[in-house]
Symmetry: C2
Subunit: 347 residues, 2 copies
DNA sequence: ATTTGGCACTCGATCACCTAGAGTGCTAAT
DNA sequence: ATTAGCACTCTAGGTGATCGAGTGCCAAAT
């Protein structure tokens, strides 16, 4: 009887929708009314019992109504959800935020704020420092006091990194300029990961004449490229405090765990990385994320692309009971818009 | 009878100390024991009634003990507190964090983390973007796509700021190098605030020959210096989630207000700025800060100096009931150490 | 003049107890 | 297959009693 199954599905849909809206367990009486079907509460009860057997809903205790289980949410999202098209005005407003030609860092920060403000959830944006994809553009050396040199590295996409390094001996301004020019001529347009290799290779067969330059170059590479550049520096989180408004996270202990996860970042980055492959929006419900701290949360993420290449992921995190029908399309377009804005910066 | 007054003071001291340690109202019985004085609870009660008249303590309700009032804390801190010298080992460990020659930004971030980790409170570090004090060192132009130029500004103290600007027309790499050299020769070592003025002045009497360069220079100044550089970008906060462990902040609503204050930042910056003048550690108790969100918190801050000049402030924020005798000296030495580490970078 | 013991009193916390209401599962009737 | 009816369960919320901690004040003691 596919008819019965269909009805059960329909009831599940209503139930999840109402529960997301109200936040309270639904009883058979209310569900009977809300469904619009001309069925008595008793019938609904039977159907609900079936849903419970299937593990899609459960009741917190004997005399409360039913709430969706994690699996229930899953089914709802995968096959029952009807996403709302974005409010046209919202779209326009959001587009306005992505002013072309802002530098990437700012752009990403704005996006993070935008996400959390519009959704009233906590937002996440990952900017993978994928050295492999970064292309070297220019290097500058600025002599500071003593043997300290400020190295400024610019990549094709307009990102700037800088770092102070200690050298074996002092260098004159002229030497620094000379060295920088040498670098820039030789390595301009080469992928950073390549630069490392080439440098190391060159170092083998260096002539006496290039000795001094290479000496500096060696120190550069070691300090600038090889030494770890603070992993975890690449996750932006905003709007965490929005989560305090949700009664289901009212337990301070839970909240504490969640906030600690935000500062630890490592796990979150890993989680978001998992969705890099996925073409579009990906949703982790409760324990699906694999992290205990997120067990009462859902994560909605989407990768964003620059020139057809996935370069990062963004999304929001909030209680499992969140308005997916609005959140999903919003995360989706934000990813697209950020990708677009970033694309227009490159060469 | 200064004798009685002295005793009352002493009792206040014990009371505050015990309350800070235990977090529970103190009754006359316990206080009689804890004080070590050979007095009966009844006597203590009389003394406590006096303290209450003076507005130094109050009882939450009739049959609870007494807790310090804001004024009580004030008196305690101003004249009764005996600060604990820092654990020698802690000092050494902390000193280890300030490795000489790290770039300023990193240094400040480390400090913020250090503060919150050691004190288990939320930490604040202000890095005032005091243009007046920044000295221009070097400028670089990197041409991006179309008319977009990446401008990199380096100041004497090793800070690097960068910005993408749109120009009226495209410039060739040679032009950019030329312009940069011109800039660097002319303005190296001049205070940023001066650069603005000189530039504007020069622009008046520019010769035809310099026209093009000045055209670029004009755009530079406008976009780089004049347009506001995101005020508020200069406050670092860490360890907010530490605050969730304090029962007195257990009220989600209060917590929410506090966290919102952290993200708003404006008020906090203003608060910290107020302590810039003070020579050493300054303490705001509860409402003294003037901000409603902080009414149950205390703020302990100290300015830090580079080359004898106050350049910023740092400190912690936590519940009024915090172990001042440890926090105060710790904030103090942290400020000194950060100042020291920053001083050693400049020329 | 201070200190103290005694005593009545107040208030919060805890517990047992009750009730109302919401919701269920099951059975028998339709 | 649906429904009405009914007994049952469980929570939320309220009441009242008790306990213990702590106070304030008075009169006695030092």
């Amino acid at each position: 009887m596919p008819d019965l199954l269909r009805r059960a599905e329909f009831l599940l849909k209503i139930l999840v929708e109402r529960y997301i809206a109200e936040g309270q367990p639904l009883g058979s009486r209310t569900l009977a009314k809300q469904s619009g079907l001309d069925l008595s509460p008793a019938t609904i009860r039977n159907a609900m019992a079936d849903l419970e057997d299937m593990g899609l809903v459960k009741s917190p205790h004997t005399s409360a109504g039913r709430v969706p289980t994690q699996l229930g949410y899953r089914v709802f999202i995968d096959s029952l959800l009807t996403v709302q098209p974005l409010n046209a005005e919202t779209i326009r407003q959001v587009e306005g935020e992505f002013v072309v030609g802002t530098d990437p860092q700012k752009l990403v920060e704005t996006t993070s704020l935008l996400l959390s403000e519009v959704t009233k959830l906590a937002s996440l944006v990952v900017v993978p420092r994928r050295e492999e994809q970064l292309v070297f553009r220019q290097l500058d050396f600025v002599g500071l006091s003593g043997c300290r040199i400020l190295v400024i590295l610019v990549t094709e996409d307009g990102q700037v990194q800088n770092r102070i390094i200690d050298t074996e001996r002092g260098y004159s301004p002229a030497e620094l300029v000379h060295a920088a020019n040498y670098f820039n001529d030789k390595y301009g347009g080469v992928a950073i990961s390549e630069v490392k290799h080439i440098l190391l290779a060159d170092m083998q067969r260096t002539t006496e004449e290039m000795q001094r330059m290479m000496e500096l170059a060696l120190e550069m590479t070691r300090k600038m490229f090889v030494e770890p550049t603070d992993e975890g520096d690449d996750l932006l989180v905003s709007g965490e405090s929005n989560l305090m408004d949700f009664p289901e996270l009212g337990d301070i202990q839970k909240l504490r765990k969640l906030f600690d996860a935000f500062t630890a970042k490592r796990d979150l980055v890993h989680l978001l990385d998992r969705s890099m492959r996925a073409g579009g929006v990906k949703i982790f419900i409760g324990r699906e994320s694999g992290y205990e701290a997120l067990k009462d949360c859902s994560v909605v993420v989407a990768p964003y692309m620059v020139d057809g290449q996935v370069v990062g992921t963004l999304g929001v995190i909030g209680p499992t009971r969140m308005p997916y029908e609005h959140i999903i399309p919003f995360v989706d377009v934000t990813a697209k818009l950020l990708g677009g804005a970033l694309s227009s910066i490159g060469r």
